[in-house]
Symmetry: C2
Subunit: 413 residues, 2 copies
């Protein structure tokens, strides 16, 4: 086993609040790994609303297609569930893929007495191998018996693949005097350049909120959270984010995005999603540095994000961070290749608060020693001012180290 | 020093033909490195035509801007020259950048008695440090005295940075009974995802060809040669390709792109440029595998190239090759994230001649052992049939190894 990431939060998995209307169970089904939890079930009470976003990959996995269909059809009467396995992505498995989804979704539906189209499924692990669905369906009784509102940590552990720690985050928010709870967990460590959501993220709240409003909030929140992180520029076939609102809080339903409570709730949800996104980067394969990159002065926010991701995905920038080398020339290079409007002679760069390059050349006050000292830190920021407009964006990434190569040159065999 | 790339051609630098009208010299000027050649001069006789393509980076270096201006102005009367240094890229150096260019171009002009706007300059090495132009101008006498038509290999050595071997290629072509020679050299090893040409490439021919025709041929040839290779997806601020035709061959000038000789010449030039491009990939930082990736069945040739580069730039694909792991799932992933039209259930993949995945799932005849055996080779091909159209493209890349991290986490300090 790989050691726990040096960027992991101290103190381990956080104590998540109970979300009324949701219960979790996790079992070891031996899908691929032995001697560990690898299947999790979340039971969701009737009356909940569910929203989600998924990968835009053209080779999306069968479970993703199934979940997208569920959302498109709208919720069926009765309760709902989420079933997730690790060890096998059930991706690129031809017809067998959808068979596996239907078999497991039907088993959950039968076990919990709900409509199979209310069962959301996700699979993560190796691509191209048939899902051993029978190992999962054989555990339905154990999953049902294990359901408990306090089992979120086990559920978070069951969905890990190359992750080195389980990732959870929570918030509580006051909506006109009613305290609402939000709790979620995520997995992801490699193949992280989400094009909708990161690999797998599940968030639960007891807020009472209509599905279209919840979906709107979720969709508008991914851009600055999961879609603003990258470990290795590779986009998974299975990225899925599912947000469930059980409506168990003692409040009037939020039925419009213009309800002031929608904004308050969205801000709290954004915080939880951003924390879960950061936890994924902090567990980036081989990562030793957590790096926030802010680009400002761009033609638009979208342009700023393109430049930010160009820097964050540059192997030369990422290896410079790994080597604690304040090689700002590589940041110039990655800015230039991004293709967005930039003017070499207006470009300024900071490492943390240190002005390194000022309008096209190294700052006269900057010394290489300052930069080298700064690079020794573990949580780093880079700011680039393009000087051509008012757009800005922040993205997060990690460094590219020998350990990434070690993990990925020997993951499958 | 890094050992010579295992992918280097056996037999070392090829014997290049003399190109009438061109003489080369190389010296050690101590621009940054000590005890090696680091400046090269090519003297080009009056009556030659020169064409070029350059990086599209928004943070292009001063020498690139100078060369682009030269071409835009058109050739001045008299002879021409190319001056190149390694060790310092003269990029992101503010006003000092153009000063350095002008100082060195003027020195060459004075030494050879030519117009400074006929002097093409290129610099490669560290970004952001002022060019010590005086070290280069101090060597003008030695460069002039060293000029010799047979000195191309020294010139090729002088422009190396992290390259592990000098790169040359040549061809001769019969144009209506006249034998025309083409010879060129290139450098490049990291920061290779050219967006116009690779880092530095210089090609010479004695063909007699009008400048607009030569430029048209050069521009149309880069797309399938230098713009179809990638080592690490990072685009240099200094990419420059300059092609010189001295017109010394005993032939009537080619004045139109519709002249059949233009096609014959373009094919030969394409061959030399492709060989130089491949030599750059074979010297990719840390490379142990040379990988050709062909995508067919795409909506268009452009779409095929986007998918090809998505595969070639995927860190997970590249590390799988490094680990000799036939992990075709990662090829599916990289195909899916490219954003071009694709249909999971029409997708087929070959390693060499081995059909691995057939229309959306692993081929029934494929065994993991076959794939693993194939991966042990050094020169590998991947073919992906998207099954949605008739577009195709081939790109070339190398694997991503520990050595890449070693080189780039400790290049500057």
């Amino acid at each position: 086993m790989t050691a726990i990431s040096p960027l992991a939060p101290k103190g381990g998995f956080p104590k998540l609040p109970v979300i009324e209307g949701v219960r979790f169970a996790a079992v070891g089904a031996g899908v691929k790994y032995a001697g560990r939890l690898d299947v999790m079930l979340a039971e969701i009470a009737e009356g909940s609303t569910i929203a989600g976003t998924f990968t835009r990959s053209k080779t999306r996995a069968a479970p993703v297609l199934w979940c997208q269909d569920n959302l498109a059809m709208g919720a069926q009467a009765g309760g709902a569930a989420i079933l997730v396995n690790s060890g096998n992505a059930n991706a690129f498995t031809g017809n067998n893929g959808m068979n596996g989804v239907e078999t497991t979704a039907n088993a959950v539906a039968q076990t919990l007495g709900i409509n199979p189209r209310n069962v959301f499924v996700a699979s993560t692990g190796v691509i191209g191998e048939p899902l051993p669905a029978e190992r999962i369906t054989a555990k339905m009784g154990a999953l049902r018996d294990g359901l408990d509102a306090t089992n979120a940590e086990d559920a978070a552990r069951a969905i890990m693949t190359t992750d080195t720690y389980a990732k959870g985050a929570a918030a509580s928010v006051d909506l006109d005097g009613v305290t609402v709870q939000i709790a979620g967990f995520s997995k992801g460590s490699g193949m992280i350049a989400p094009d909708m959501a990161t690999m797998l993220v599940f968030v639960f709240t007891d807020a009472k909120i209509a599905q279209p409003v919840l979906q709107k909030i979720v969709s508008s929140t991914t851009g600055t959270t999961f879609n603003s992180i990258t470990v290795d520029s590779d986009t998974s076939t299975s990225d899925s984010l599912v947000v469930t609102a059980t409506g168990r809080a003692n409040m009037d339903e939020i039925t419009s995005i213009t309800d002031p409570r929608a904004t308050t709730f969205a801000t709290a949800l954004h915080g939880v999603m951003l924390e879960l996104a950061h936890l994924v980067v902090r567990d980036g394969e081989g990562a030793t540095k957590f790096i926030g990159i802010t680009v400002k002065g761009a033609e638009s926010n979208a342009a700023a994000k393109v430049v930010g991701l160009s820097i964050a995905n540059s192997p030369l920038v990422k290896t410079a961070f790994a080597g604690e080398d304040p090689n700002w020339g590589r940041i110039v290079m990655a800015t230039g290749k991004a293709g967005e409007a930039a003017d070499r002679d207006k470009l300024s760069i900071w490492f943390g608060d240190i002005l390194v390059a000022d309008k096209g050349w190294v700052s006269p006050d900057y010394s290489e020693e300052q930069g080298a000292d700064y690079m020794k830190g573990q949580d780093l920021t880079v700011t680039v001012d393009l000087g051509v407009g008012n757009g800005s964006a922040t993205v997060w990434t990690c460094d590219l180290t020998h350990q990434y190569i070690t993990i990925n040159a020997d993951y499958r065999s």
